[in-house]
Subunit: 203 residues, 2 copies
């Protein structure tokens, strides 16, 4: 098994943190997107969208999409459970992982792509759309701060994949869009300190 | 168990088709978003984002997010399996469900929100962003047509939740954005006829 990886991407980071939480090390193949290594016929045969990460199994079968890779790893190595411990928890983890992805991570990726100079030339940047995404993230931080008033982690009493997604989203919003957890968001700030202090946070 | 539902939404339709494929009928509570029924304190206690669908369990616990609801139903009623039959299939279904959601359904929802008169007043519409989303959908149809050259359904040999997501995305793109499967996309057209002909397609 090996993982095709791209440094600096929030989606590849999700898988790296997930593996580190499981205590697993698997061979990593760095793919240089700037050099177009993700658009070669060989790579497109692994993921026809040319995106990362991709997990290649020993028989050559490939799984793309960060969360699909994480679920596969969860089935292979169930401990510690990062998708919930029972049926209701698994539903809550899916619900919260989706919320963190669709409400915060996707807007952060859009705000980044539509405003950062790194993307100039790769797409037609729409500053108004970047602005709308930033507003969405700010509003969702207020909501999430309220949600976290009575709990330690995003979805359940345990650290789960929903925390990993949220962590990568907040990191991207901060690093790429300059959006920080506000002073009047103590619950979100405490959660952020908690997850950032984990030994796996820099995986 | 009851399902809070909104007619015409692609996300609630995903759950309705899923339930119909399982042969299940559960009580439906229609929520009128136009009348603000999704913003009442009672409803916000069920889903603090005010979004639909929401599944309420008999003990009052609530699960929001279409795919989280579908996964919960899958665990309660495993047959027929709609998330894959084994570990690798489950990973492929997750991969394809995410691709259909992130690459087609989300852009279709954005194109709809940023161009249709129904949304005027609810948000600041950005026609250029709607246009970019339309281009993305058209490009992804070309890609998906190619992907479907050698198979019957989106993710595996069986109809799965990835087909349901794709179906609801294509329906929204057609109905709300006027984007149709093109004449030179025979594999996608054949898939669309296949899934539209299922007795559950109008659930």
């Amino acid at each position: 098994m090996k993982l095709y990886d791209l440094a600096g991407s929030p989606n590849t980071r999700r898988v790296r943190i997930f593996l580190a939480e499981k205590g697993l090390e698997i061979p990593i193949v760095a793919v240089d997107m700037a050099k177009g290594e993700n658009r070669t016929p060989e790579f497109l045969a692994k993921n026809s969208l040319g995106k990362l990460p991709v997990l290649e199994l020993d028989d050559g079968a490939c799984i793309a999409e960060s969360v699909a890779i994480c679920r596969y790893i969860e089935e292979l190595h169930p401990e510690p459970p990062l998708f919930g411990r029972d049926m209701l928890e698994r539903a809550k983890v899916e619900m919260w992982n989706r919320r963190m992805e669709l409400e915060i991570l996707v807007p952060a990726m859009q705000a980044f792509a539509h405003s950062h100079e790194m993307w100039r030339g790769s797409l037609r940047q729409l500053p108004d759309w970047a602005g709308a995404c930033r507003e969405q993230i700010t509003a969702r931080y207020t909501w999430l701060d309220h949600e976290l008033a009575d709990r330690t982690f995003i979805a359940t009493a345990d650290y789960t994949v929903a925390d990993i997604t949220a962590q990568c989203a907040v990191l991207l919003a901060k690093g790429a869009c300059g959006i920080r957890v506000a002073a009047d968001q103590p619950n979100l700030a405490a959660w952020w300190e908690r997850v950032s202090a984990r030994p796996t946070a820099r995986a």
